[in-house]
Amino acid sequence: MSQTKPYRVSHLDALEAESIFIMREVMAEFERPALLFSGGKDSIVMLRLAEKAFAPARIPFPVMHVDTGHNFAEVLEYRDRRVATLGLNLVVASVQEAIDTGLVRELPDGTRNRIQTPVLLAAQEKYRFDALFGGARRDEEKARAKERMFSFRDDFGQWDPKNQRPELWALYNGRHHPGESIRVFPLSNWTELDVWHYIAKEDIPLPSIYYAHDREVVERNGMFYAVNEFIRLRDGETSEVRRVRYRTVGDASQTAAVLSEADTVEKVIDEVAATRITERGATRGDDRVSEAAMEDRKREGYF
């Protein structure tokens, strides 16, 4: 912890202390927690916090990747490197496998964020995880502003916004019946800028796609999508090579990049501080569907 003067705690240190407290609380109170790790920046920060919470011991729970099959190669490489470095136990829940076995159906538009949910729930049931750490932040979206640190889920993984447990002080209620579970969001009080400041302060390596690079992209509705095996040019569209970075990393078929020259963490922070468009608004085709898109997905068991 850095101190600038006696007994003063910076906002980042306060957020870190709160997140570490929550992780330890879950480890103490649950039988089989796991951490949802996508290789995105929020779950990368969560992993660092988990390292800190249990040092000098190893992270005492497995990490689970719900793999849409629509991945950026850089992110998968990063995932495997990180898991090896930290000596973690990785569980992969594959959407492709679930499509092949008939658990879920491919959507007409080919995007896979929505069909992740049953795959996540099936894996949770298989491994009997009673708590799942997610990297969601309350500043991301309106429905998430109402989310708890300990988010109770029934045995269908569903979130009922009208039936949430009050959370007072730092007293979190994780009690649940068999089959039910808790999603835990240690980054609830962090903003996008806080996450980036922490990445800078801790000098945490990220997948290269978070920094500016040249990529073949196609512009759709003012968003820039990478042209790859998941995104094909439609009639009348042309692709161009632009300098871009990703603000979020999701399903590669529906996550867009932003035009950027920021190739270092400091430059990214300057851009994030100056940007006038939300992270999801700029990059997630899936949240643009309707005013209540996120709320509906959460009710179905999404994060």
């Binding site: 705690v9 202390a17 103490a28 800190k52 109402k146 949430q164 447990r165 501080a273 006038r276």
Partner: protein, 432 residues
């Protein structure tokens, strides 16, 4: 809309501190507009959010951009134009990061306000200048003092609708000041504002030359919160015992937790409760290395010089300054369950610091009318959103302080053992 010049400067924001505040007031008082205004003036609102609000306002037929729409998260709330739950919002200036616990003001949401106030450094109460203080304002002030929120701000809103009449403001301010004096109220600041037009929010308004105090944002940025923490009584609830099963790190036992209060240093003599065994602090560790002292809200790992049996739920303190080791607890309880009331004889699970136990309700001394502060000693139960003074007996001792002295070791929650719902929140008055 006016643009304030409050850009959270990227480099400067690393040295900011954190202030949590709770807002209370109803939709009609302009609470959502005020929050929307704070977010807007600190450039927290993004273009895509503003566009969404502008188009939603237009489709509703609103005559102006309805900033309140920024904060209504759930479909039911948008349809009914109400706020049904605590929502958390974030903004920052170069000096501070802010977390707002945005709670609905109506009486049926007392539990939400209590929830928001439990972690707040400051409470912001809103009144409509045309209506002055109403029952709700007094209730909010009372709950703020009950939860020991150290700083209170009263915003007299809609001053534009009373032509910025100083007399109107003074009358409301005087009335509130005399009411707050009875409440053992914290530090109080009263500000005339117009949330809709942005007067006295981000900067001082020319419409109120007679007002000499700070703008709301200036006050939020500068209010002194460092002294609000208890740095005197050492309380370290043990959360988790770290014992690496590894060949490289052997014989390691570390007690992980978050400092509740006081300052811990290596070499300090300590006592562990409830056992009463003593030792000294050998080291205070973090993942980034050992540190010389730990204070709230740091999460650290404490190592002791002696091998003593310590587990989750124990408390490390100083031999001459200990919490009560108590099974008989008197507390103010706010009941939060809609399905069944709190009854004398009822049994619940109780969570206090990192310790869990079971408890039985021994007695209900009175139910408090949160609007009039009248005590009903004939009451036999507490229903949803009601507050009363309760006697509890726990199965194992709690390591507890009075809430007025320590908000972390003085608060607890009650959980229904069959539904697992959090049904009550308690503020300890006495522990024996």
């Amino acid at each position: 809309m006016s643009q304030a010049v409050l850009e959270p400067d990227a480099a400067a924001s690393r040295g900011m501190d954190l202030l949590r505040f709770a807002t209370a007031g109803s939709v009609d008082d302009g609470k959502s507009t005020l929050i929307g205004r704070l977010l807007y003036d600190t450039k927290t609102i993004f273009e895509d959010q503003l566009e969404a609000v502008e188009s939603a306002s237009a489709s509703r037929g609103d005559e102006y951009t309805n900033l309140a729409l920024l904060t209504d998260g759930l479909r039911a709330e948008r349809e009914q134009g109400i706020t049904i739950d605590v929502a958390y919002r974030y903004f920052a200036t170069p000096r501070r990061k802010f977390i707002i616990a945005d709670t609905p003001g109506h009486i049926q949401y007392t539990r939400n306000m209590v929830t928001g106030a439990s972690t707040a450094d400051l409470a912001l109460i809103l009144v409509d200048a045309r209506k002055g203080l109403v029952e709700q304002s007094r209730r909010h002030a009372f709950l703020t003092s009950l939860l020991r929120v150290p700083h209170l701000v009263l915003c007299v809103n809609k001053m534009d609708l009373v032509d910025w009449d100083q007399a109107v403001f003074e009358r409301i301010a005087d009335e509130f000041t005399s009411f707050a004096a009875k409440l053992d109220a914290p530090d109080l600041t009263i500000i005339p504002i117009s949330a809709l037009n942005g007067d006295n929010i981000a900067s001082r308004s020319e419409n109120s030359p007679w007002y000499e105090g700070p703008s709301l944002l200036h006050h939020l940025e500068h209010v002194h919160i460092a002294s609000d923490r208890n740095l005197v009584d050492v309380r370290f609830p043990v959360q988790y015992v770290i014992r690496p099963q590894s060949t490289t790190v052997t014989d390691y036992r570390g007690y992980a937790g978050q400092v509740a209060s006081g300052i811990l240093k290596p070499g300090d003599d300590v006592m562990v409760l409830p056992s009463g065994l003593t030792s000294t602090i050998a080291a205070i560790e973090t993942a980034d290395g050992p540190i010389d002292e730990a204070f709230p809200p740091m999460s650290v790992t404490v190592r002791l010089a002696d091998e003593i049996d310590i587990s989750r739920g124990d408390m490390i303190c100083r031999p001459q300054n200990k919490p009560a080791v108590a099974q008989d607890i008197e507390a103010m309880v706010c009941w939060m369950d809609e399905t069944a009331p709190l009854r004398v004889g009822g049994k619940y699970a109780i969570k206090h610091t990192t310790r869990s136990a079971r408890t039985v309700v021994r007695g209900l001394q009175y139910r408090l009318d949160v609007n009039t502060l009248h005590r009903d000693e004939a009451a036999g139960e507490l229903s949803l959103n009601e507050i009363g003074r309760v006697k509890l007996r726990t199965t194992v001792p709690l390591l507890a302080d009075e809430y007025r002295r320590n908000r972390t070791t003085g608060g607890f929650i009650l959980i229904d053992e069959s539904t697992n719902r959090t049904v009550g929140a308690g503020i300890i008055i006495e522990a024996r």
